[in-house]
Every structure is written in structure tokens, then in C-alpha cells.
């Protein structure tokens, strides 16, 4: 336990030191980024140790807070989440040092590093806490630290608005969690997590209510579909390394909380599995559809996070169905797929956000339609972004494929042996996952194609250049990790076994009933064949072209007399066939001034896809609430006397009521 506590101490102390040293940008960056990287690497050691089979380590120190105790434990499940947290935090810290450096002239670098290190420390504490009070405190500070990171550029109206949306969403989520922990704590008579799990069987109604509270509370953080509204606002507003961290690992703490909750609530009824699969399908399909329709690169990535959270939840749903039906294969494959996707998504979404950050860094815009042709100017960023895009689309030989493959494999196996009524959600999962994969491929071919291929569409690209080594190195490492996890699939999945045992509560064997090594080896073989084919094709191309003149020409030069950048596909036009097919969900707004007359003078066309949940769900609800609460405004008059009177009266009335 000592290395992790040391790592926490290093994070907090260096964060504080960076805040104190805020006058010197150099010192703040060195302390903040250096401390975050050092602390993360320090914590990575025990996390990897437990992940690879060391026994769980725990520590419990009594605490003055009522119901609270500083009890922490690293078991395999915690370690599985600690690994991406530490890895991505270290890499994003290095990246952030380079990313924030140019802004040192306009504002201090102390606060962002303080909050960054605080955020990392709290994420770590959230996944190792074994006491509800400690957990909730870490959870809240995590939300607040990330809020302050999001509103770094608070002079912009849209950043402030994003910050408020995030703050309100996360507070509402915590309200449900507070109710959840208060309730389960009252039932079990303790706030310690091990008492929750040893409590035995809850009554079905109680377990169901707790499950719903946990799904809403943790789902708000994770970004389940109707509750996801803060994600597409907060991620674009935050600095890119923070977006990577928030999207890559912070929202996963919601998944962690949900998985941990499942270990307390006893044997799951079928409707839990149905609920999780339904949430997974809606988040996955709608998330990727909205991602497809976005014109802002980071907003696109944020929606894609919703999609991937959907895939993870789908895996969890399949796993819960496996436990419910007593089918170990189904449970192992579902949970393994979901949990592996947690790690995978941290890798490739971190990579993509860092890549997007490099693009923003170089061009100063997030508008896809103003970019283009960056491949020639930023080849390293483009290669890394392409790796991430292929991985997130679930294509072999990258890591995204392995996780989705496990979920699909489990669903197929389950659907073929289980009775019809249990097989239906599995069939839905298969169909949904296939749809998500196809749409994701379309979405990311669009993102990569419009941003990096073709010709420059606007002024911003003209001065674009490859970022410095501090920005490139983290992207390289993540890209290599994406390939490595993809190629080492069978062994990586085997390393999940201890975590699966924590989730399922039963030992997990490898072989036909447990971890499916056989099919994964098959996948590996196919991946290697694919790589060999690519290498062979490249060799043949080189052989054929050897000795012949090779010239480079303008893109889109096929037959046009004077090709221009405006003749290319735009982001809207590339997505149009799919967005119009799904227009019933997307409700894309079009503003068009079509060409008129024989000699049309000017024309324009613009599309905008706003979030339907936000526009038609939350906004009217909040406006109605605001109108109702407007009646209470007279209480808020600004007279200090009367505020004191409120407080005094309340206290006296409470005293009298208590004594009377």
C-alpha cells in the first residue's frame, strides 16, 4: 500500500507546490507536470503488480468523520482501473506541459497543474476507497477539480456555460449517489464496503431500488445516453490533455462504481441485464450517430465517448445476464469484453484527444470544415490519429477489436444455447454492436479524412506544423500501446481473470468455460496475416515502382482543369447519407441559401446538430423548474440582516422543536 500512498502524497504535494510557485511558469510546469508524471509512474508499479497476480493489499486507519474511515484496498478490479488512470495521467501530464506552455503569457500555470494533480489523486482514491464517506469525498473533489480544469478559459461565454452544465450534472449525479450510500449504509449498518458485500441477499425491491439509484448516479458520470448532456459541452471546453484524461479515465470511474455496486447487490434479476443492455445500445448507437453529425472535432470525440461507454455497458449487461442465467461463459465473456474495453478506450480515446489537441494547437480551430490536408504538414500526428481512429472503430489488429470481439463472442455463444426469451437481448446486442461498429468506422473515416486528407480548406492550416516532442511522445506511446494490446490480446485477456473473479465472486478458469484463448489466438493469427499482407503489398509496390519515375501531384487532380479546396467533400456532405437516414434521431438543422436564377451569385449551406436530449429534454424541464422557483426569488434580496435572521430563526426553531 505504501507506494500508492506515496504516489498520492507526491501528487498532492507537487500540485500544491505548483500552486504556490504560480508566478514562475517554469517552476509550476516542472513541479506540476513532473510531479503528476512521477506520482503516476510510482503508483503504476503496485497497480501492475496486483493486476499480474499479487494478492490484494489493503489498509484501514480510523477517522474522526462520522461513519468514515480511511480504508483503502487495491484488489484486481481496482488495479484494472488504476492502470489506465496512472498511465494516461502520466502521459497527459507530459503532453500538458507542452500544451499549456504557450498560454503562460496570458495566465498563470499554477492553478491548472494544482487541479490536474488533485484530479489524478482523487481518481486514484475513488477506485481504491473502501469506505462510502471517503469514496464520496474523493468523488466530489474529483468533480470539482475537473470543473476548474474545464473552465480554464472562463472568459469565453461557451466555456462558462459548459462549466455550469457540467457542475449541475455532476451535482445531480452525486445526489443520487448520496441517497444510494445512505440507504445501503442504513441497511447494512456500516459505511464500509466490505460490510456491503458481506451483507448477504437484499430483498428484491430494495436491491432493485439501489440498482436504479446507482445506475443514475454513476451513469451521470459515465455519460449514459439521456444523462450524457455534460460530455459534449465539457470535453471541447477543457484543455486537450484534460479532455483526454476526463474522457479516457474519469468517466470510467462511473463504470467502476457500477461494477463495484454489482458485487454488493447479490444475484441479479433479468431486468438488470435488460436495463444495462438497453442503456448500452441507446448510448452506443445514438452516441456514434451524434458523433457522426458533429462539426467540432472535440465534440465529435466527446460523443464517441458516449458510444464507447455504451459498448462497455453492453458488455456489463451481457455479463449480468450470464450471472443471472448461470452461464459462466456468457458472464466471463461479457465482463471481460466490457472491462477490457475500459482499458482500450482509455488508450485510444486518450490518443485521439491528444491528437485533436495537437491539431488545435497547430491550427487554433476545432472546426473540421476549416481543416484538411494536415497529413502533409503533421505526419506524426496524422499517423497516431489514424491508429486511434482505426482502433476506436473496432478494426483488427488494434485493441478496440479485441474487446468488442469478446462481447460479440459471448452474445453469439449465449444466443445459441439459451432459451428464446433470454436470447433476445443478446441478439439485440449483436445487431447493435455491428451497427455501432459500422457507424464508428464511418464517423472516424470522416474525422480523419476531412481533417488530415485532401487539401487545406482554410487559413488556419497554412501555418500548421508538427508539435514539439512533449506532445508527440505521449501520442507515440499510446499508439504503440493500442497496437500492442491488439496483438497481445490472448495474454491481456488472461490477465483479466483476477478482476473477473472479483466481479463474479467465483473462480474463473481458462479454457472452454472460462477465458476463451482459442478464438483469440485465431484472431491474432488473422491479424498477423493482415499485417503480413499489408507488408507484402508494400513490398510489391516498392518492387514494381523501383526504377520508374514517381511524381506527386495535387489531391483531386483527376481530370479537373483547376481543382480547388472547395470542391472537396465537406464534413457535412460526407456524413449526409447517414445523417439523413437517421434524421429522426438527429434532427439536424439546415440553413441553406440555394443558388437561384440562371447566373446565381451567392449560395451557402450549413448544418448544425444540437443535442436532442438537451434541447428537448433538459432545457424545457430546467426552464419550467426555473419558472416555478422564480416565486422564491424574493427571499434572495441581498440584505445581510435578514439572512442572519433566517439563520437565527431556523436555529431557534430547531432548538425549540427539539426541546419541546
Amino acid at each position: 500500500m505504501l507506494p500508492v500512498l506515496t504516489s498520492l502524497a507526491v501528487l498532492l504535494v507537487t500540485g500544491l507546490a505548483a500552486l504556490i510557485a504560480h508566478r514562475s511558469p517554469r517552476a509550476a510546469t516542472a513541479l506540476g507536470a513532473g510531479g503528476a508524471a512521477a506520482g503516476s509512474l510510482l503508483g503504476l508499479v503496485p497497480a501492475l503488480g496486483v493486476l499480474l497476480g499479487d494478492p490484494a493489499i489493503s489498509l484501514r486507519v480510523p477517522w474522526q468523520v462520522p461513519g468514515g474511515a480511511f480504508s483503502v484496498e487495491i484488489d484486481a478490479l481496482s488495479a484494472l482501473f488504476l492502470f489506465p488512470i496512472f498511465l494516461l495521467s502520466a502521459l497527459a501530464a507530459v503532453y500538458g506541459a507542452g500544451y499549456l506552455w504557450p498560454s503562460r503569457t496570458t495566465r498563470s500555470l499554477g492553478p491548472p497543474w494544482f487541479f490536474y494533480n488533485l484530479l489524478v489523486a482523487c481518481m486514484v482514491l475513488v477506485v481504491i476507497a473502501r469506505n462510502a464517506v471517503l469514496f464520496l469525498m474523493a468523488w466530489e473533489v474529483m468533480a470539482l477539480a475537473s470543473f476548474f480544469l474545464v473552465i480554464r478559459e472562463h472568459e469565453k461565454e461557451e466555456v462558462r456555460e459548459a462549466g455550469w452544465t457540467y457542475l449541475v450534472a455532476t451535482r445531480l449525479g452525486t445526489a443520487f449517489l448520496l441517497a444510494f450510500f445512505a440507504w445501503i449504509g442504513r441497511e447494512t449498518g456500516s459505511m464500509e464496503f466490505d460490510r456491503f458485500s458481506r451483507h448477504g441477499v437484499f430483498s428484491p425491491a430494495l436491491a432493485g431500488s439501489l440498482f436504479v439509484l446507482a445506475v443514475i448516479g454513476f451513469g451521470t458520470k459515465a455519460g449514459f445516453m439521456p444523462l450524457h448532456v455534460w460530455l459534449p459541452e465539457a470535453h471541447p471546453a477543457a484543455p486537450s490533455h484534460v479532455s483526454a484524461l476526463m474522457s479516457g479515465v474519469m468517466i470510467k470511474t462511473g463504470i467502476y462504481g457500477l461494477v463495484r455496486t454489482l458485487t454488493w447487490l447479490g444475484p441479479p434479476p433479468a431486468w438488470w441485464a435488460w436495463t444495462l443492455i438497453a442503456i448500452g445500445l441507446s448510448s452506443g448507437i445514438l452516441g456514434v450517430l451524434f458523433a457522426l453529425a458533429q462539426n467540432d472535432l472535440k465534440r465529435l470525440l466527446a460523443y464517441s465517448s458516449v458510444e464507447n461507454i455504451g459498448i462497455i455497458t453492453l458488455g456489463l449487461g451481457v455479463g449480468v445476464l450470464g450471472i443471472h442465467t448461470g452461464s459462466t461463459t456468457l458472464a466471463v465473456l461479457g465482463f471481460a469484453g466490457g472491462l477490457l474495453h475500459v482499458v482500450n478506450h482509455a488508450l485510444f480515446k486518450g490518443l485521439l484527444f491528444l491528437g485533436a489537441g495537437a491539431v488545435v494547437h497547430a491550427t487554433g480551430t476545432r472546426e473540421i470544415d476549416r481543416l484538411g490536408g494536415l497529413l502533409k504538414r503533421m505526419p506524426v500526428t496524422a499517423a497516431c490519429f489514424l491508429t486511434g481512429a482505426a482502433a476506436i472503430s473496432g478494426l483488427p489488429p488494434f485493441n478496440g477489436f479485441v474487446g468488442e470481439f469478446l462481447i460479440l463472442l459471448g452474445s453469439f455463444r449465449g444466443a445459441s444455447v439459451l432459451p428464446a426469451e433470454t436470447a433476445v437481448p443478446l441478439l439485440a446486442a449483436i445487431a447493435g454492436l455491428a451497427l455501432i461498429g459500422g457507424l464508428a468506422a464511418a464517423c472516424f473515416s470522416r474525422a480523419f479524412g476531412i481533417v488530415f486528407l485532401g487539401e487545406a480548406r482554410g487559413e488556419p492550416v497554412a501555418h500548421a506544423h508538427e508539435p514539439g516532442p512533449a506532445l508527440r511522445a505521449p501520442m507515440w506511446i499510446l499508439a504503440v500501446a493500442c497496437v500492442a494490446v491488439g496483438l497481445l490480446g490472448p495474454w491481456v485477456v488472461r490477465a483479466l481473470a483476477p478482476a473477473l473473479e472479483v466481479v463474479m465472486g467465483t473462480p474463473v478458469a481458462s479454457g472452454e468455460e472460462g477465458i476463451p484463448t482459442g478464438p483469440l489466438l485465431g484472431v491474432l493469427l488473422a491479424s498477423l496475416l493482415l499485417l503480413a499482407t499489408v507488408a507484402l503489398s508494400a513490398a510489391i509496390r516498392r518492387f514494381l515502382l523501383a526504377g520508374r519515375p514517381v511524381t506527386e501531384s495535387v489531391t483531386w487532380d483527376c481530370g479537373y482543369a483547376r481543382p480547388g479546396a472547395r470542391m472537396q467533400y465537406t464534413a457535412s456532405s460526407y456524413a449526409q447519407p447517414l445523417t439523413s437516414l437517421f434524421s429522426v434521431f438527429l434532427r439536424t438543422r439546415r440553413v441553406a441559401a440555394l443558388p437561384e436564377g440562371i447566373f446565381p451569385s451567392g449560395a451557402s449551406f450549413a448544418t448544425e446538430t444540437r443535442d436532442v436530449c438537451r434541447e428537448s429534454g433538459f432545457r424545457p424541464a430546467f426552464e419550467r423548474l426555473s419558472r416555478v422557483l422564480w416565486a422564491m426569488r424574493w427571499l434572495q434580496h441581498g440584505r445581510v440582516h435578514l439572512y442572519v435572521l433566517y439563520i437565527a430563526l431556523t436555529l431557534v426553531v430547531l432548538l425549540v422543536w427539539k426541546l419541546g
Binding site: 462558462r160 430546467f622 426552464e623 426555473s626 426569488r633 440582516h641 426541546l659
Partner: protein, 238 residues
């Protein structure tokens, strides 16, 4: 029963009534100062046990601060800000005395019901402490001048102090020391702040200082934010 202590308790009540009834700030400051000195004697008499150095130190410190330093600071602030009287309070002086009588009754009732960890040496001490507390709160609520509010704050602290000494153990004294330090800083800061406010605005009427509240009557155009947070977001940008 201890005659000296009972006398001090009665004195506390009377000082409270002076603060409630007087419009002259100088008189109020003096009453609060006298109250502070009386309270300083309190632990000396209340402790039938040995007079430890700590008790003596606390008594001396509290008397010096409450009886001399605070009144001086406040008098100077009053002189600098050129205020002598509390004109037009929210609640008139007659009504204030009526409130005082009612508060005393409530305090007596609560004192008779309040479960205490240990018996006090006089049945009157808890009601008097509560009464002082109520009066302090009332002064804060009902007076306009910032100076009066500082006085109310001091009276409130006196009440807390009396309560602490009533249940005097060693620990509350330690806590008291902390509170005393807080009050010292608070009065110091308020004294300076009042001076600056009066120089800036030519008055120290707190009822006219509502500009900094976090709500104004304007509403923003719809569609710029999830409503309900919009105003706050707008304010944040100032």
C-alpha cells in the same frame, strides 16, 4: 449559590438591555466593554478549583481584549466614520426592549429544558448565556450601521463565552482562546473595513449595501444557457 456570580449574571442581563435600548453608539460600546470585563471575572469566580495559570491567562486576555482593545478600536472607527447614533433602526428601541423581555423568557424556558452534560453551579447561567446570544443576533438583524453589527457580533461572542464558562472544563477554555483570537481578527478587520467604507460611500448603512448580492432583476435572453443557471453564469463573467 455564589453571590458574586449571581451579581455578574444580573449585570450581564442589564448590559444587554442597555445595548438594546440605547441609540448612542458610545453607550453601547461601553456597555459591551463592561460586559466583556464582567465575563473576564467569570472564570476566576466560577472555578472553585485551583486558579491555574491557564485560567488566569485567559481571564486577563479576555478582559484586556474585550474591555480595552475592542472598545478602543470601535470608538476610533466610530470617530473616523463620524457616526454617533444609530438612526432609524429596523426595529425601534421600545420594541427592542419588548423583544428583550420575550427573548429572556424564551431563554429561561430553553434553559430549563436543555439537557446538559453536567450540572452548572447556577440555574441562571445557561438562560443568561442564551439571552446574551439572542440579543447579539437581534442587534445584528435589527440595526443598520455596520458598527452596530460589529457590536452585535461581540455580544453574540460574549454569549458563547458565557456558555462555555458555564460548563467550564479545561477544553472549552482552549476553544475559547481560539474564538477570542477569531473575534480579535474579525473586529480588527471590520474596524478597518468600516473606516474605508465610510470614506468611500459617506455612510456605513448596511441596508444600502446590496449591490453585491448574487441576483439582479434582469433576465438573460432565452437559449443562451440552461436556464436557472444563466444568471449566475452571467454574473461570473463580471
Amino acid at each position: 449559590m455564589n453571590l458574586g456570580l449571581e451579581t455578574i449574571l444580573v449585570f450581564l442581563v442589564l448590559a444587554n438591555i442597555v445595548v438594546l435600548a440605547s441609540s448612542r453608539l458610545t453607550a453601547c460600546i461601553r456597555a459591551v466593554a463592561a460586559q466583556g470585563i464582567a465575563l473576564g471575572i467569570f472564570p476566576l469566580l466560577a472555578h472553585d478549583a485551583a486558579l491555574t495559570a491557564r485560567v488566569l491567562l485567559l481571564a486577563a486576555g479576555s478582559m484586556v481584549l474585550k474591555g480595552i482593545v475592542f472598545p478602543m478600536l470601535l470608538s476610533r472607527a466610530a470617530r473616523d466614520a463620524e457616526v454617533r447614533r444609530e438612526m432609524e433602526p429596523f426595529v425601534g428601541y421600545t420594541l427592542s426592549i419588548v423583544f428583550g423581555a420575550a427573548a429572556l423568557a424564551v431563554a429561561l424556558w430553553i434553559g430549563s429544558r436543555l439537557p446538559l452534560p453536567r450540572a452548572t453551579w447556577s440555574p441562571l447561567v445557561v438562560p443568561v448565556a442564551l439571552f446574551t446570544l439572542f440579543v447579539g443576533l437581534f442587534i445584528i438583524v435589527s440595526r443598520k450601521k455596520a458598527l452596530s453589527q460589529v457590536l452585535g457580533y461581540l455580544v453574540l461572542e460574549n454569549g458563547i463565552y458565557a456558555f462555555g464558562v458555564a460548563l467550564a472544563l479545561e477544553e472549552p477554555l482552549l476553544v475559547e482562546l481560539g474564538v477570542l483570537l477569531d473575534v480579535f481578527v474579525a473586529v480588527f478587520v471590520m474596524g478597518i473595513a468600516i473606516f474605508h467604507i465610510s470614506r468611500e460611500f459617506d455612510h456605513i448603512d448596511t441596508d444600502r449595501m446590496t449591490t453585491l448580492r448574487d441576483w439582479t432583476r434582469r433576465r438573460r435572453a432565452p437559449g443562451t444557457a440552461l436556464s436557472g443557471k444563466g444568471e449566475a453564469a452571467g454574473e461570473g463573467g463580471k
